[in-house]
Subunit: 219 residues, 2 copies
DNA sequence: CCGGGAAGGTGACTAAGTCACCGTTCCGGG
DNA sequence: CCCGGAACGGTGACTTAGTCACCTTCCCGG
C-alpha cells in the first residue's frame, strides 16, 4: 500500500526509484488521541507525515502555563521536529495527538537519504519549514501586538464546527491564546452580553459569526 | 582566499572536492551597517554565512511596533531566510545589518547542490535551523509568560558592553522586548531608584550588575 | 544661533494578568 | 444511590502592562 504518497503534493512527483525507497523504508503508524508524540526528554525518532488527524504543538512554561504554537494537519509534516531531532536538544515544546492520528513514519536515515537524492523532497521539506516558521512568526506578532479580545473572537471563528460550536473549555481557549483562564472567561461574558455567543460547560456556541468576524477584523 | 571555511565548525570537515565547489561558487560580500538584507518584498537571493558583524532579524507589525526575533553573529548563518526563500513568501520579518557585515554569499543553486552532496553540510544547515527555531520558541515563551521588568533586567545585562554601558535608546530597548517606550522608561526609572543603573541620553549604564542579575533570575 | 527631529518624562486611562476563593457540575467508586 | 474529588467556571481586588496625549530637553545641521 503506497498510495499515501499521492496525498502529498510535494512528493507525488518523485520518480519510481526514490518513491519505492521511501515507501519501502517507512511504515504507517496509528497513534491514539492524547499520545505525546514528542516532548521534553522525548526526542522524535522519525519524520511524521500525517495521513489523518491533527497534531498540536505547544510550549509549556515552568510555571505551568501553555501556549499552542501550531497544528499539523493531514497531508502535512512535523518538520520542525526533524530539525530539533538532528541537532541540539533542550527545547520545551511538545507535540500531542489531538485526535487519533494515522501517519507515515520516515526514519532519520531515510530522511537524510531522501534529502540527498531528491530535489523534490528537498523542496517539500523546505516548504514545510517555511510554513511552520511563518506560523511561529504569526504567533509572535499576535501575542506581542494584538488585543486579546480580537484574538479570542478570531479563535472562536477558527475553531467552531459546522454547527457553530466550539468544544473547548475556557482553560483550553486560554492555552490557545497564551493567556489565563479568567481573562478568557471575562471576555466571553462580554461576547455573551453582546449576543454573539452563548456558553455551556466545555462549549461555546457562536450565534452571530458575522458580528464576531467584523469585530475580529476591526482595529 | 578560502580560509573562511575553517571558521565554520560544521563545514571544516568538508572534503576537498566539495570544499572547492563551495569556495569557488560563493563570494565574500561587504554589507554596510543599516542595510536591509531581506525584508517584505525583498527576498534574499543567497544563504549568508557571517564572517564578521551582526544581523538583527525583527518583525514589524502594521501598527508600526517592532520586536527583535534573534541575531545572527559571526560564524553563524541566516538559514531561516533560505527556507522562506525557497518557499512561499509573505512574511513580514526583516534582516538588518546591525554593524558593518562581512559574509559569504552562497547562491541558491549551490546551496541546493551542497545539501544534496554533503551530509556534513546538511548537518550544518539543520543544526543552524534548530538553533534559530529554539530562539523563536524562547521569544514566544518570554513575551507570553515572563514579567517585563525581569526581561528588561536580563536584556540590559545581555547587551551591556565591557564598561557596563548599554548604548540603546528607550525606544530600541522597547523593540528588543516587544513593548512600548513608555513602559521601558518607567521600568528604568525604578531600576535607577534602586541604584542598579544610571541613565543618559541613548545610554543606560549598569552600575550593579549583580543585583540586576539576581533580580532577573528571581521569580 | 535657531529650527526641527529624536529622546525621554508624565498623568490619566484602559487592557491584561494574578491571586484567592467560591459555587456548580460531572463522574466513578463504594 | 450517594459521596467525594476533580474539573469547570465565576468573581472581586489587586498588580502589571500598554495606550494616548502632551510636554520638555537635547542635539545637530543649516
Amino acid at each position: 500500500m503506497a498510495d499515501w504518497i499521492e496525498q502529498f503534493p510535494g512528493l507525488s512527483r518523485l520518480d519510481g526509484d526514490l518513491r519505492e525507497t521511501l515507501v519501502r523504508q517507512s511504515r504507517v503508524v496509528e497513534v491514539p488521541q492524547g499520545t505525546v508524540i514528542f516532548g521534553p526528554g522525548k526526542a522524535p525518532e522519525n519524520l511524521l507525515l500525517l495521513l489523518a488527524g491533527v497534531v498540536r504543538v505547544q510550549q509549556v512554561a515552568e510555571n505551568g502555563r501553555e501556549i499552542v504554537l501550531y497544528r499539523v494537519h493531514a497531508h502535512e509534516s512535523c518538520v520542525l521536529t526533524t530539525a530539533c531531532l538532528l541537532a541540539y536538544e533542550d527545547y520545551s515544546a511538545e507535540g500531542i495527538a489531538e485526535t487519533d492520528v494515522t501517519a507515515v513514519a520516515i526514519p532519520r536515515s531515510v530522511f537524510d537519504e531522501m534529502i540527498a537524492r531528491s530535489a523534490d523532497f528537498r523542496r517539500f521539506v523546505f516548504t514545510a519549514y517555511s510554513r511552520r516558521i511563518t506560523d511561529l512568526f504569526m504567533v509572535i506578532e499576535e501575542i506581542a501586538f494584538r488585543r486579546l479580545d480580537l484574538r479570542l473572537a478570531a479563535k472562536l471563528l477558527e475553531r467552531k464546527d459546522a454547527a457553530g460550536d466550539v468544544l473547548l473549555t475556557h482553560h483550553q481557549l486560554a492555552t490557545e491564546l497564551g493567556t489565563a483562564r479568567e481573562v478568557v472567561s471575562r471576555q466571553l461574558q462580554e461576547f455573551i452580553r453582546r449576543g454573539w455567543v452563548t456558553a455551556g460547560r466545555g462549549r461555546v456556541h457562536v450565534t452571530d459569526a458575522e458580528a464576531l468576524g467584523e469585530f475580529a477584523h476591526s482595529a
